[in-house]
């Protein structure tokens, strides 16, 4: 068996053992709901710091972010720079206040905190509706990313190939059986341990996943720097590189490829007919058996690369060559801002967009419900203070090192623009192979897998806690602990299964889905929660207006963007992220509606301030 798969299997096994221990410990607690959804509000330094850090670092950090670094170069250091302020903003801004009042009013979920501040059921229900809506989109994207990583690990396993053949008999047409199988395996692993173990299982596995992420990045950094010949050499090599061109490649049989069916595989190198350049298709296609017809596909064209291996089964004729909209033939473009861009003539990151991300990372992180729930679970203020420092070191190391790793990775492994989302697992495999330690790939690939799992588990639990606590317990306030326990298991399981069904035929633009969902959650909930904790004059009508106003702005900008581009992309009014407009609109509505209405109930307000 593949050594990488063995080390990865050991990692999954440890996750299950931790979940089993956590599940047993939650079952013994007197207050099952508080223990299952909030870990009894007793998280210590490492538990709180690492669960917070890993929940925030989702699949995007280890799949989408490396793909962006690879495609656009050093400018990604500026794109991610806002993370330097995330620890003190995302934890410090609301942490102490939120934990203090949640304990005081015995709230377990965010909608409950908002509802108890105003003694108003409508506020709770609007917040619950927003969380359920956006979180479902977010979950969908993470499931797909988990499936992608598994397919890299399992690709050459005979049992996996047999599994694909078996499942293809039951797969409806238009669905990819390989994706379906990896989705099922990933879902069984994650849903299994979340349902049994609850919040404690999520936190304990997050601690382990945090350590795996840290080790994975540290090992990759050492390997990549030694294999590329040092950072300075990598930067100088990167300076010489120019973006590839796009083209339409027409594939034909060579005389030695006889009459078999030929697969033109996405991401594989093919030489051009004149033998001077190489093309990498951005989509897979076939030349059918017995047919002498050619097959056309969009591809990237590299004229000065020397790949280690390339396919000789077919030859490509090149048509309609086109350069990048920004950075075509421009040496040094990977070292400077705004960075090369295929479509935008202004480049990848204009300075206004950089400002937009410097706001989005810390404040968007503050507004994420999964992060805010963790702020309700730490033990005391000493834990909070030390955790801020721990998270600061964790993020500084992970994010800055990822930029270094994948700038070096581009020099070591050029030509992956067509398949940039797979750059992380592919680089991990290459580095381990070059180092003569193939088993290490399992550990390195476990890092992004851990990041995805730690986000999926938190989000599944967040959704089910909203439904159990904010909906069911409101209808049945006297429900027994036993009833709540079975209901919590059942709803957690149902949420996971529903997400799997929704992802069986995934939408095309997953990264856009993540941005839509995380921006929407933070945009709708940041200002209502911040002002609920810091502004005594806020009223329940103001809170509802703020949440619904932000929701409308977010949906409107997404619809306008869709109408303008035909893609699931929001409209960046004045080049600013829609999250910023959500927050501005939400703050304006909360303040104006609250000031126009009556003073809030004095007794409720005094309890919070």
């Amino acid at each position: 068996m593949n050594p990488a798969l063995i080390s990865f299997g050991i990692y999954v096994l440890v996750v299950f053992v931790l979940a089993w221990i956590a599940g047993n410990s939650s079952s013994k607690s007197k207050s099952f709901v508080s223990e299952y959804f909030l870990g009894g509000r007793a998280l210590g330094l490492w538990a709180f710091a690492l669960t917070f850090a890993t929940t925030n670092a989702s699949g995007g950090s280890f799949i989408g972010f490396p793909a962006k670094i690879y495609t656009h170069g050093w400018v990604l250091a500026l794109w991610i720079a806002g993370y330097m302020t995330v620890p003190f903003i995302a934890i410090g801004l609301l942490g102490k206040r939120l934990n203090y009042v949640a304990r005081k009013v015995n709230a377990i979920t965010l909608p409950e905190v908002l509802g108890k501040r105003f003694k108003n059921e409508s506020v709770t229900l609007v917040a619950t509706g927003i969380i359920v809506l956006f979180m479902f989109f977010y979950l969908m994207a993470q499931f797909k990313a988990g499936g992608m990583i598994l397919s890299t690990l399992l690709a050459d396993e005979p049992l996996f190939i047999e599994g694909i053949e078996f499942i293809s008999q039951f797969t409806p047409s238009g669905m990819d059986p390989e994706y379906l199988l990896t989705l099922i395996i990933f879902s069984l692993v994650v849903i299994g341990y979340v349902v049994y173990g609850g919040f404690k299982a999520v936190v304990w596995t997050d601690i382990m996943q945090g350590i795996i992420m840290f080790l994975g990045v540290a090992i990759m950094l050492v390997l990549v720097l030694s294999q590329v010949g040092g950072l300075e050499r990598a930067t100088r090599e990167l300076h010489k590189m120019v973006p590839p061109k796009t083209c339409v490649a027409v594939f034909e049989r060579t005389s030695d490829s006889s009459q078999e069916k030929i697969l033109i595989k996405k991401g594989t190198w093919y030489r051009t007919a004149d033998d001077v350049a190489f093309v990498v298709p951005s989509k897979s296609t076939f030349i059918n058996k017995g047919s002498n017809e050619s097959s056309s596909v969009k591809a990237y064209l590299y004229d000065d690369s020397k790949p280690q291996s390339f396919s000789r089964t077919s030859i490509a004729q090149i048509k309609s060559t086109k350069g990048y909209a920004y950075g075509d033939n421009k040496k040094g473009v990977y070292l400077s801002a705004p960075g090369p861009d295929l479509k935008k003539g202004t480049g990848f990151l204009a300075i206004v967009t950089a400002l937009s991300f410097f706001i989005f990372w810390p404040f968007g992180g503050t507004g994420q419900p999964a992060n805010m729930v963790r702020l309700m679970a730490f033990k005391n203020t000493q834990t909070l203070r030390r955790s801020i420092i721990t998270v600061a070191f964790f993020y500084s190391f992970i994010y800055f090192c990822l930029v270094i790793i994948f700038c070096c990775g581009k020099v070591l492994m050029p030509g992956m623009e067509a398949n940039a989302d797979r750059v992380m697992p592919e680089l991990a495999t290459l580095l381990s192979k070059n180092a003569g330690m193939p088993w290490l790939a399992g550990l390195l690939v476990a890092a992004p897998f851990a990041a995805i799992m730690s986000s999926v588990d938190s989000f599944i639990l967040m959704l089910s806690s909203s439904l159990v606590r904010d909906v069911y317990q409101r209808i049945n306030p006297n429900a027994s602990q036993r009833k709540l326990k079975s209901l919590s298991y059942m709803i957690t399981l149902s949420v996971g299964v529903l997400a799997v069904f929704a992802m069986m035929n995934p939408p095309q633009y997953l990264q856009d889905l993540i941005i839509f969902a995380s921006g929407g959650l933070a945009g709708c909930l940041l200002m209502p929660m911040a002002l609920c904790l810091y502004w005594p004059r806020m009223t329940p009508k103001g809170a509802i207006a703020g949440m619904l106003g932000a929701l409308i702005i977010h949906l409107a900008l997404t619809i306008i963007g869709f109408k303008m581009t035909g893609n699931f992309e929001p409209y960046d009014f004045l080049d600013l992220n829609p999250f910023i407009w959500d927050v501005i609109g939400s703050a304006f509505l909360i303040v104006s509606v609250s000031l126009l209405g009556k003073d809030p109930n004095q007794e409720n307000t005094e309890q919070f301030f």
Binding site: M84, P87, K96, Y100, E232, A354, F358, T605
Partner: protein, 90 residues
């Protein structure tokens, strides 16, 4: 309405967090605006293996932001007993 000691301290800390964010945002964005958006020319300017604008405009402010985070965590955020802890003490 008299505000609790806890709330007044939280507001003081809030000021530090937001001031810190403004300072680092200004440093990174102003420095990068003047230095990162330049043509790298034939010979790139490199400091410790990375483009010089990344070193002075991102790496150094990131190290300073971490130092600032340590400072506010140790000296600005004050400890305050939470409800359960208070009950335990009673």
């Amino acid at each position: 309405m008299t505000q609790s000691k806890h709330f007044k301290q939280a507001k003081r800390e809030l000021f530090f967090f937001l001031a810190g964010w403004f300072f680092f945002a200004a440093w990174v964005l102003i420095y990068s605006y003047f230095n990162a958006y330049k043509d790298q020319g034939q010979e790139p300017s490199i400091t410790l293996g990375m483009p010089s604008w990344v070193f002075w405009g991102i790496a150094i402010p990131w190290i300073c932001a971490t130092a600032f985070t340590i400072y506010i965590s140790l000296f600005v955020i004050k400890d305050h007993p939470f409800i359960n802890e208070e009950e335990q003490k009673k």
